[in-house]
Amino acid sequence: MTFRKYLVLAGITVLAAAGDSMLSHGMKQTGNISIHHLQGVVLAILNPWVAVGILLLLAFFASYMNALSWADLTYVLPATSLGYVLLALVAKFALHEQVSPLRWLGIALISGGVGFVAGGPELTAQEYEVSSKDPLLPKPGRSGAPAMGAEP
């Protein structure tokens, strides 16, 4: 794991939490959207909080795909679940909401899970072997690890 890869994992965590919070804040300002008043969707997107929230979530998805290109799904998901903890901490210290003991227990469990998975390897070795034999591969020889070492 390089520093850059840790940065990507941190990016996933922060971008998802920030994007969700901004979207939620913006949607509370715009009010309810019903199936009969679909123009409300357009108004919602024009709200700056919603627009920035969507941009952050797009950035989150790009980082998520980046991480999945070099790490296992069962590594990325727990490793980035600190976002839930981040949201609870923002609720407690920025929004001054009440965080119950049960929620603190939840925070402890998630942090424990992250600690567990972060100590292990991020990628199982057989992965590339499997994907290079994958019949669903669109263009054989172009993807996967074996081609990476070669000069373009």
């Binding site: 795909m65 290109s69 998901l77 679940s81 227990l105 939840g106 942090s111 567990f116 998975v117 292990g120």
Partner: protein
């Protein structure tokens, strides 16, 4: 009857979330290590490979279905049940599916992590 609707909704959300995650993960493994590709031939090569990968589009479609099923499930059940149940069951479902379909080595360390995070999410959002 309402419970049945709510839990069927939750299971549909979990199913499509897991399918979406697995397909996106598979697509990105087929694309290859993004950092290495960008170093070698630039970011547009990555964009081209992602956009020519059918698993990527199927994955995004599955995630979209999961999102809209979540909206339906939320209209049938309480948000305090539906959101945490769907999120935490997705963690467990992903661990099983990654082992079966992506052949990831889900060792004891990863199982414990998945279960701890799933339990934590259920408590946090409940």
């Amino acid at each position: 009857m309402r419970h049945l609707y709510t839990w069927s909704g939750i299971l549909v959300v979990v199913f499509f979330s897991v399918v979406g995650d697995i397909l996106i993960a598979r697509a990105m493994k087929q694309v290859g290590d993004v950092h290495a590709i960008v170093r070698q031939s630039g970011v547009w090569t990555v964009v081209g490979r992602v956009l020519s990968n059918s698993n990527f589009f199927l994955g995004v479609a599955a995630m979209a279905v999961a999102f809209f099923s979540l909206l339906f499930a939320l209209s049938w059940g309480d948000v305090s049940l539906v959101a945490p149940a769907a999120a935490s069951l997705t963690f467990i479902g992903n661990a099983f599916a990654a082992k079966i379909f992506l052949h990831e080595r889900v060792d004891r360390r990863r199982w414990i992590a998945a279960v701890l995070v799933a339990a934590g999410v259920a408590l946090l959002a409940g």
